[in-house]
Structures are given as C-alpha cells and as structure tokens.
C-alpha cells in the first residue's frame, strides 16, 4: 500500500552483499563490498546515468549500507550480518514492467552488480531478476511523491514545453494578432507538443538546455 502514490511507485530494495573477498582474489584483495562500492561510485550521473535508459524511472539511488548506526547509551549496539546494497527508486507504473524494462536496458550492468550479492547467481533473465528483487524488497514507508502522476516521457515533454512557452511569451510580447498567430504556429511546429519522443528534455537531464531534438 505505502509503496504506491497514485501511479507512482516507490521501490526500496536491500540486497545482502557477500561477506569476504571473491575466491581467487590475491592476498589482501578487496572485499565484495569494496568492489561493489567502487563500481557504484564510478557510475555516470544525470543524463549519462545508465538508469536514464530505464523506461519511466523518475529518480533512483544506490548505496552500500555497512552497518546500523549506534545511537549512544542506553541503546544496544547492534550489527548487520552482512553489508547491504540499498536501491531506492521512484517510477511510473507497476513494479514488474519497470523491472523488466530495467533488465532489458541494463542486463550486463545488473549482472555486474548482483554478482557481489548473495543469491545474485540465480539471476539469469528478466523473470529471475524480478523474483530476486521481490525477495529483497522492503515496504517503502513515508513515500512523498515529488512528481506529477504521468509517465516519464509525458513529464519530460511537459517540462520542455513549459520552458519553451515561457521563452515564447517573453520573445513575442506586443506582437499583433496575425504576427502572434504566425509565431505560435511556428512554435507548435518546432516544439511538436503531441510528439513525446522529441523535441523534449533528455531523461536524467539536470540542466535546462539538455534537449533531445
């Protein structure tokens, strides 16, 4: 229930990371956790992010949870049995199609990440990936959806159009009705409001000028 807000879904996944170092690693080799963290920290971000290729992905974050924080006396000191890969994302629509889309877009990347996790070897196709993620899923509480309730492509187009319309208003103020109409026709032709594939904002775009023509 708490995972959804309208058509938006908030996914929280905790995948246990294998303890120790990979077999065959040289003496003093890096642990699974260190290798995974390094992999995550060198992923590109914004429109260069691999996650920008995943359909309907609003935003997401990966990180490694090494332990639970100690709150100080009189709390008990507790420890996790392993480190965890935490994946948290907000997206449009249902969980299974989203994960299927992710597998299609990023199969190699997903395999490279999950080989550091317990049970990662069971993930061989979209179906087993979905099963694995569902096993690791925890309920998202306190989901505040910061997005409108539309598919990503529609939202990106809306943002693009809003920006362009604002520019249009500033550029064409004071023109006569026929001039304005001509300019608006040109605007509609150029921006193609009904065409979600372009021109529009690039998925993951962080700067206002990242437009896909």
């Amino acid at each position: 229930m708490a995972n959804k807000s309208g058509n938006a879904y908030a996914l929280t996944v905790l995948c246990p990371i294998r303890n120790g170092v990979p077999p065959g690693a040289p003496p003093g080799g890096q642990s699974y956790t260190a290798l995974l963290r390094n992999q995550l920290q060198t992923l590109h971000v914004n429109e260069e992010s691999p996650m920008a290729k995943v359909p309907n992905n609003y935003l997401c974050r990966f990180w490694v949870l090494s332990d639970v924080p100690y709150q100080g006396k009189p709390a008990f000191r507790e420890h996790l049995k392993s480190d965890y890969l935490v994946f948290s994302s907000n997206f449009y629509g249902e969980l299974e199609p989203y994960l299927e889309g992710m597998w299609k877009a990023l199969e190699a990347g997903i395999r490279a990440i999950l080989e550091h996790c317990f049970g990662g070897e069971t993930v061989t196709n979209a179906k087993s990936f979905i099963e694995y993620i569902k096993k690791c899923q925890v309920t998202t509480t306190f989901f505040f959806n910061g997005s409108t309730d539309e598919p990503l492509a529609q939202q990106l187009k809306n943002l693009y159009l809003k920006q362009e319309l604002s520019k249009f208003a500033f550029e064409n103020q004071g023109k006569s009705a026929p001039e304005l109409q001509a300019a608006f026709r040109e605007f509609v032709q150029r921006t193609q409001p009904a065409n979600l594939s372009g021109p529009t904002w690039a998925a993951g775009a962080y700067h206002l000028d990242r437009v896909v023509e």
């Binding site: 208003a169 500033f170 550029e171």
Partner: protein, 535 residues
C-alpha cells in the same frame, strides 16, 4: 523631533549608534567611510582606545538637543581582530561567514560576473600585498561637510600618534581618483524630482522609507508600523505590527527563535555587538534610463509605472499596493509634501498635523494581503522581495504559526548613503551608487540569505530563477543588454494581461566591501585593554 521610545531591557548606551539608528533620519546626511590596516597590534589597540571617546552610542535621540553634529563608529574585519590580539579561541567562535569575509562568499551572495572582485576599488583588491588588507572601518556621519572634516582631522591626529596603524587609500572617485576615504551624501529631492521623506538614490527612487524596528531599539515607537513584524492584525495600524526580537540584530539577546545568536566567547565580548556588511554598490544609471525609456515606451501604463513595478514604490515613494495609479501616487505625495512643509515651519493647524501623521503612516502601513495576485505590486518587485511582510503566506491566512514565519528571520537593518554624482545620465561609468551598510546578528541567515534567495533567485515568490530586477545580478551587460527578466502580473479583475520584461541589464554592481564586527562599547574597551579572556 521628540518621541516616545522603546528601550525595554536593552542597554543602548553600550551599543554603537550606527547599529540602532539610521543617522540620515536625524539630519546626519553626509558621511565618510575610512579604512585602516594594523601592522602592530599594540598600536592597533591604542588606536581603538584613542578613538573610543569619539564613538557614538545608541542612546535615544528623542529630543533634538541630543542629536550631535557628527557621529563616529567603528568596526573590524576578522583579519582586523586577529591583528588586535584577540585570542584564538575567541576568533574561532566567530561564524564562518564572517571569518571567510565577503569576497570569499561571492558565489553565495552573487558577487560574480560584473560584480566580481577584480572590478572592485583598489582598497578591497590588493590580494598580494597583505599590508593593504582592510582591518578597521571608521564611519563618520555628519550634518555638514565641515563637521565631517573636523572629525576626520581628529582621527588623522589619532592615527599620527599610532604609527603601527595606517590608513588605506584606493577608493575610486569620479575621475578614477585614489581617494583616502569613501565619501557619501544623501541626494535631496529637487523641484522636478519630488520625494518623501527626502533621500533619493541615483535611479530617482525615494529610499530608506521603512526602517526595521526591533525590541529595545530606542527609536520612535510608531516606527514599528511597517517596520516590525506582522501580527496578523490590521496592517494599517499599530495592531498589525510588533517589534522584532532584539537578538535578530544585537548579539547576546534572544532572537525570533528564542535563542541567542551564534557569537564568540566570552559573552561580554560579543554581547551588544553586531555584524555589518559594507557594500559599495555602483549604479548603471545609463542602462537603467535606457531600459526604462525603451521598455517604458512599450509598457501600457508608461515609464513611471514600469519604474514603480520594478521597485514596489513609485519613484516619489508612494507604495504601489496602496496607490496603484500614477495620479493617486502623485496626489498623495504632493499633499504629504505640502503638509510636511507646514509642519516643519510650525505653521500647521492641529487638523493639518493629524492629517500629516495619517498620510505619513500610509507610506509604511500596508501589507500585500489585498494583493495576493500581484496585480498591484508584482511578486518580483524589489520591495516585496526584500521585505515580504506577510506576503509569503500567499493570501492563506494562518498558513503558519505567525504571518511572518518565513520572513521574520531574514530581516536586516539598512544603513548607509548614496555616493558620487551622476554627471551624464545616459552613461554607466563614473562613480556613483549607494554605500550599503547592512546590520544583522547572523550574516549567513539574514544578509546572505536575502542576497542569495531573494535578490538572485525567485523560487520563494513562485518566480522560478528570476532575480530582483534592480539588485539582481543579470550577468555582464553587452550593449546594455543583460539576462534579467521580470514578470509583471496582470489583473484578472480588469482583464489586464501580464507584462514580460526581458533582457534587463545588470543595474547594480558591487565595487567593494567586507564583513565587519561592530562591537559594543564594553568590547571596544576590552580590545583596547587587551583583557579578553575566553577561558
């Protein structure tokens, strides 16, 4: 003028006068800002000791006979305090904004592009020569030039007696002079540039009409109206306003969050002191006039109305929200000026006196609760941005615990005067602008926040990233074209469309400044004696 003061619990005798008073209101309308460097700490402390008897205190001037012909105040940069033997532990207690200084905070406050320090006056800019670092600021405010000159000479004598301290030159003047100090003077209204209550700035606006009012400031208690914080009561009367907490402006007193502002120890060192930002702001008068003439020619209500929409007041001082038409604004100010003349000449009847008081109140007694769409006073206008009153409730009464919840902790005290003279109103160059002195208890939370979020960004007003039309940094002007834009909201009632101002040039550029600690009289004595003990 005599008035009933409010001083509750605040030792104004220990606070510097420039903090609690806008001297211009008392007829001290010319000033010199003089800067010093301390080479020998002992000499620096002796210099402070010698200046101390001249330092003007914050006692109320509620009787004309209390007003001196000249006032003197003193402040220190972080580097300055370091050169005055202030203990390390005390220095480390200062907030980061102050210890970093204004130049290092440039990305936050928008001193980039046309306002970058490379273009500042030489006095602020000699990075490689450490002897040029500004350590001490002495401000002299007077009634007339001769008052300034005699006080200035007294200070020169003190300087001569303390060879370990040197005066820093390098203030640009009209002809690129290397001035020994920064001069400033009020611009009084002329016949064809009528204004109230007197002071103008170089764009022609009446300035300094509202004065921020806090508990115990020692000013006329009626100034709380429009100058305090909104209570939710009628904004046209005293019921609508309450004094801001002392601690918003004076260290060592509780602030609006019922806490003491961050300040270094020992408590006696910082109590009754404050932080002041000194800013030399150049005004691109040629660009302003050109933009106003060009865009004002297209703006349906004309040039003066456009100038008013930029500021939130007509250039004669009448607030837009109460006087939405040029005609109503002019009639109001003409009547006010007529009555003022009679009151000042002591020839007003009691009826006229009452009427004068009533009209004077209208200059400041308003809020934006009757203008939630911005149809009268745009959301992006300078005045509505800098002092939103209760506007950040966006018309939703009781949106927060108090109507000023989002603005009460962002208030500043505005001091300072215009400088220079506009020789050719079609040109940007020359040396003219405003010396702004901004006092607050927390530079980061107050001055820098206003500068960053309200002057150079617009999101709090629902204006995306639009900066303030007048004070915003719109980039380096090329051919008088900048990157600024402003939406002047339309009016759904009269079906008036909104108006879009585009390519606004940068109108105000920073030409120098720094952050100063303006200590209490007690602290000045402690600095002089070298007895600050933070342990």
């Amino acid at each position: 003028m005599s008035f009933e003061v409010t001083t509750g619990g605040v030792d104004l005798d220990d606070i510097q006068g420039s903090v609690v008073k806008a001297y211009g209101r008392y007829g001290l309308i010319v000033a010199r800002y003089v800067f010093f460097h301390v080479e020998v700490p002992v000499a620096g402390r002796k210099f402070v000791e010698d200046i101390l008897p001249l330092v003007t205190r914050g006692i109320p001037w509620n009787d004309p006979s209390f007003i001196p012909r000249v006032a003197t105040n003193i402040g220190f940069t972080y580097e300055g305090l370091r050169h005055l033997d202030i203990p390390e532990v005390t220095l480390h207690g200062f907030p980061e904004a102050f210890s970093m200084g204004m130049k290092a905070r440039r990305e936050i406050i928008g001193d980039t592009g046309p306002s970058l320090f490379h273009r500042w006056d030489p006095v602020w800019n000699n990075r490689d020569d450490t002897t040029q670092h500004v350590h001490i600021m002495v401000t002299i405010d007077g009634k007339e030039e001769q008052d300034l000159e005699s006080r200035y000479q007294e200070i020169r004598q003190i300087l001569a007696a303390n060879p370990g301290v040197s005066q820093l030159e390098g203030h640009r003047g009209a002809d690129g002079d290397n001035l020994q100090y920064q001069p400033a003077a009020a611009i009084l209204p002329s016949k064809d540039n009528l204004g109230y209550p007197g002071g103008k700035e170089h764009f022609g606006y009446s300035d300094g009409i509202t004065t921020t009012f806090f508990e115990g400031c020692g000013e006329d208690k009626n100034l709380v109206i429009g100058g305090g914080k909104p209570t939710g009561g009628d904004p046209h009367s005293a019921a609508g306003w309450a004094p801001l907490a002392t601690g918003e402006f004076i260290l060592g007193h509780p602030d609006e969050a019922f806490e003491y502002p961050e300040a270094p120890g020992p408590p006696l060192f910082s109590r009754n002191g404050t932080f002041m930002a000194y800013r030399k702001l150049h005004q691109n008068v040629g660009s302003f006039n050109a933009y106003l003439n060009d865009e004002g020619g297209k703006f349906p209500d004309g040039k003066e109305a456009l100038a008013a929409k930029f500021a939130g007041r007509w250039r004669n001082g009448a607030p837009l929200v109460s006087f939405p038409t040029e005609k109503s604004a002019n009639e109001f100010i003409m009547e006010l000026a007529r009555l003022q003349k009679k009151v000042w000449a002591d020839s007003a009847s009691s009826e006229e006196k009452n009427r004068f008081a009533e009209l004077s109140l209208q200059l400041v007694a308003f809020d934006y609760s009757g203008d939630t769409s911005g149809a009268k006073c745009p959301f992006g206008s300078h005045m509505r941005r800098t002092n939103p009153r209760s506007a950040l409730e966006f018309g939703k009464r009781n949106a927060f615990d108090v109507p000023g919840a989002l603005s009460n902790r962002r208030r500043i005290l505005r001091r300072g005067l215009p400088y220079g003279r506009v020789v050719d109103p079609t040109r940007d160059d020359g040396d003219h602008g405003v010396i702004m002195l901004i006092a607050n208890a927390d530079l980061s939370r107050q001055f820098e926040f206003v500068q960053q979020q309200w002057m150079n960004y617009g999101n709090d007003f629902g204006l995306a990233n639009d900066p303030d039309p007048l004070l915003g940094n719109h980039g380096t002007n090329e051919g008088r074209v900048g990157g600024g834009r402003m939406i002047i909201e339309g009016d759904v009632v009269t079906n008036k469309p909104p108006y879009f101002c585009n390519r606004i040039p940068t109108l105000v550029e920073t030409r120098g400044g720094d952050y100063f600690f303006v200590p209490s009289l007690t602290c000045l004595r402690m600095i002089a004696l070298g007895i600050i003990d933070p342990t």
